[in-house]
């Protein structure tokens, strides 16, 4: 675990750049991580997914599977991949300041 300066805030991240403490997150951090992860601008649809991931993680302690993300976030699978081409669950977790999802689905 290392400390990293993102959007002028010091945050703890793992080797892949996922925040290890969700409390250190804010929207400016999200926008900067998004830019560095190949998502230049966050639209309302991106935010819908990011907030859903984050809320689910904070409520249950685990990030949702891609299956439930597609069913419950309000954004269907095809659109999820259009919004986050390099992996919706992984990227939305990273941008949303929660640990990397560990599930296989």
């Amino acid at each position: 675990m290392t400390a990293l300066l993102i959007a002028e805030t010091s945050v703890d991240v793992d080797a892949e750049g996922f925040l290890t403490n969700p409390d250190q997150w804010n929207e400016q951090i999200a926008e900067e991580i998004a830019r560095e992860s190949g998502v230049p601008a966050l639209t309302d649809r991106h935010w819908l997914v990011i907030r859903y991931m984050r809320d689910r993680y904070l409520a249950t302690g685990t990030a949702p599977s891609i299956r439930s993300l597609g069913k419950e976030s309000g954004v269907p699978i095809k659109e999820l991949y259009a919004l986050f081409p390099k992996g919706p669950a992984k990227l939305a977790a990273k941008i949303g300041g929660i640990p990397k999802p560990r599930g296989c689905i």
Partner: protein, 168 residues
Amino acid sequence: MTQMFEAPQIAPHEPKTIEKVAIVISKGSLEGIYPGLIMANGARMEGIEADLFFTFFGLDAIRKDRFEKIKVATVGNPGLHMPTLLGAIPGASALVTGMMKRQMEKIDIPPIPEFVELVADSGAQLYACKATVDMFGLSMEDFVPQVADIISVGEFYEQAAGGQIIFT
């Protein structure tokens, strides 16, 4: 005098990532189909390009008349630790299949029809093997709409160029 050896120098390198996979699904049992679907979905989740090629009985996973009826093989399947004759009793396969499906639902693994749709929606291309299609006398109409094309093995290799091929 002891001789000193220097530790071998390992050249630092960038972590390598897989960019593309082509997964062959060749078996028609539940336990034959799921691994390929899980690997394809997992690849897409990591942003890895994925193609699926269904061949022989693996075609059952994309056949409209069969993909809802995929069963666990209870005969000749040592992994089940079940006497062969017991596995042969009528209904044994349906029973074991039902148990396994409930177990999978618990950990959020979708049933095969939903999984095929999920994998296709995630951007994986689905192909049917031409030799098998010809052998069984099938056509595009027999397949779910997510199937992109019926292609030969040569076309599959062209499609898979530059990636890793995984045979299941």
